[in-house]
């Protein structure tokens, strides 16, 4: 009896071993013909980098971009440890991080914006808000929609006399960094009490996980307000507020308004190998500039031979890929809800990518 039952299972065993064998062969053959470039970091840019990676395969089939969206903090950690070939972060490296990641180059690869979304039943108009008012809502000082400071910004709209339900991101995120960076810029109490960071100590509110969590809470809870990435708001048709900029105008986060924030500040941007710690696009000057805007960065080392497993061919491929990202790659941004870089920033990136070397020799000489 026993023998027969083993004989019965034999085909399954055989099939299983065959599958393992095929997979092993696949793993052995793969590296000899293709190069894998590893990156890790921001979840915010994951859709874009993953699109780039598949589009770039059509141009250079011999190379695979393997990007893990583990979060900016994790990306920075792996980048500092030289576990990955490039990192991606929504915030620039700070002073401490610059010290341990010597020779880092910041390459802003796309623009993102944060929008204020809300659930106000029976109000179909776009409401107006200012940074000061948003900060006081998130500090718990403005608690009702009918507060005088909100109604005087929205003369034509009858605000309901209801409590505001404040929603924020629960997990650390680049979106939170941009949002709190903006609030710190426009409100001194926020700056001293809370500050800016990927996770902060929220004085009030409910935390939801991910943009999708915040968006679905806003949809579910009446009289709520929350901040989400522009790309996510566009994909899900959320309503969002117009926010007063430095110029005094209430602007919506249309792509050209986001772009203007970056192009107006382009002249003051540092070189790729300098510190970007103080770069911030929030509350940028310009008549139509939307105020809650930021870069997302790709981080690479200026001297690529420092990385274990790096060779000249791989270094060249990485540099070509980065060059492609900041040029042709930008064409894929808008359809995914990102905003393409203005030409002034692309020029800064060109200079930065030319700095990247392998054993002291520049890799972009010919271009």
């Amino acid at each position: 009896m026993k023998r027969r039952s083993i004989a019965k299972k034999l085909p399954t065993y055989l099939l299983f071993s065959l599958l393992i064998l095929v997979y092993a062969l696949y793993l052995v053959i793969l590296p000899s013909s293709t190069l894998v470039i590893n990156g890790a970091g921001s979840t915010f840019v994951y859709p874009l980098i993953s699109k780039w990676s598949s589009e770039y395969r059509k141009i250079d089939p011999s190379m695979i971009i393997n990007y893990q969206s583990i979060g900016s903090g994790g990306g920075i950690r792996l980048f500092i440890n030289k576990t990955v070939d490039f990192g991606a972060s929504d915030a620039p490296l700070n002073k401490q991080q610059m010290e341990v990641a010597k020779g880092v180059i910041h390459i802003p690869e796309t623009l993102g914006a944060v929008v204020m979304s809300y659930n106000l039943p029976n109000i179909n108009l776009i409401i107006n808000l200012t940074g000061e008012v948003i900060a006081d809502i998130y500090l718990g000082k403005i608690t009702r929609w009918s507060d005088k400071r909100i109604t005087e910004l929205n003369p034509g709209i009858k605000m309901p006399d209801e409590k505001i339900v404040v929603i924020h991101r629960a997990e650390g995120s680049g979106t939170t960094y941009v949002f709190t960076d903006y609030l710190s810029r426009v409100n001194n109490e926020w700056k001293s009490l809370v500050g800016r960071g990927t996770s902060v100590q929220w004085p009030t509110g409910l935390g939801a996980v991910g943009s999708e969590g915040v968006a679905s809470l806003i949809n579910q809870i009446k009289f709520s307000i929350g901040y989400i990435e522009l790309s996510y708001a566009l994909q899900t048709n959320m309503t969002y507020a117009a926010i007063r900029n430095q110029y005094g105008k209430f602007v919506v986060p249309a792509p050209e308004n986001v772009k203007q924030a970056a192009s107006n500040l382009a002249r003051s941007l540092p070189k790729g190998n300098e510190s970007w710690e103080n770069v911030s696009l929030v509350d940028a000057p310009g008549e139509n500039a939307y105020p809650i805007v930021s870069f997302s960065y790709i981080l690479v080392y200026e001297e690529l031979s420092l990385l274990p497993g790096m060779n000249e061919r791989k270094a060249k491929d990485l540099v070509n890929f980065l060059w492609w990202c900041v040029h042709e790659g930008q064409n894929y941004s808008l359809s995914l809800g990102y905003v393409p870089l203005p030409p002034e920033v692309v020029r800064i990136n060109e200079e930065s990518i030319r700095m990247i070397k392998f054993k002291g020799i520049s890799l972009m000489g010919g271009d």
């Binding site: 583990i70 979060g71 900016s72 903090g73 994790g74 920075i76 950690r77 500092i80 700070n94 401490q96 991080q97 341990v100 409590k163 339900v165 629960a170 997990e171 650390g172 995120s173 680049g174 809370v194 500050g195 800016r196 960071g197 990927t198 996770s199 902060v200 100590q201 929220w202 004085p203 009030t204 509110g205 409910l206 935390g207 939801a208 996980v209 969590g213 679905s216 809470l217 579910q220 809870i221």
Partner: protein, 303 residues
Amino acid sequence: MNEDEVFYLFSLAVASISLLLLALILVVLVQYTLPVIKEMGFDYFITSSWNPVFGKEKYGILPYFLGTVLTSFIAVLVGVPISFGIALFLTEYSNKTLKKYLSIMIDLLAAIPSVIYGLWGFFVFRNFILDYIEKPLHNYFGKISIFSATPTGLDFLSGGLILAIMIIPIVSSVTREVLELVPTEIKEGIYAIGGNRYDVIVYGSIRYSKNGILGAILLGLGRAVGETMAVSMVIGNATGENALPRSLFSAGQTLSSLIANEFNEANPTSLHPNALVGAGLVLLMMAIVVNLGARAIVSKYKR
């Protein structure tokens, strides 16, 4: 060396791996936690400020510790009577066919991944709790502090109730097994002196198996303490002072949801990752205490 000795050494080596793993994990956790304790001192355990912002760094895990205790307590308070009823019905009342299929169904509940519970809790269960439990309680008893916060369905109560559902399979199946071990002689004896089925259950089954049932409860508690995803989706994820459990209806956070939420983006050059690992150490300690307690009681019972 004969085969027997070789086999003995081999299995000894394999068995010691698990012990070694636990020891290594503890060593690493302590090693990562030390810097934050050095900086914060004992305040790390008894204060509630949680600020990872560079230049303002301050870490205190009291609210999350209390949050873990509170949600697990609610889970046991609600989940255990239900599980107990299920186990009693299966062992004492139901017929064989019903018992077979019901047991399978309950075991299937344990196979549902916790994130599914979380999604269901977030989209469905939360609204149910909000409309039928929290709003009436808040309207009638809003003056009592534990019902005072404005209900949103994203709070300690929702977190605790989701956990209650999640611990039902393990508590009910262990209780069922314990109840089945009650010797027939005891039951027959009670019937013989004129007892009815109620007497058999109360004076026979429950009295005989009380240690085993306690063990089942502690196993359920162990699961509730460590659960992450489902709780994180319905507990509201507040941080700092705001996360102290002031009311059943206020948003809070547990140790495990805090780690899951913040670790990915924690700045590697700050103390933030260390503070989160410390939360993990406290969580592991809690789980070890609860589980050792459960084992001790269950094994005492088996002997």
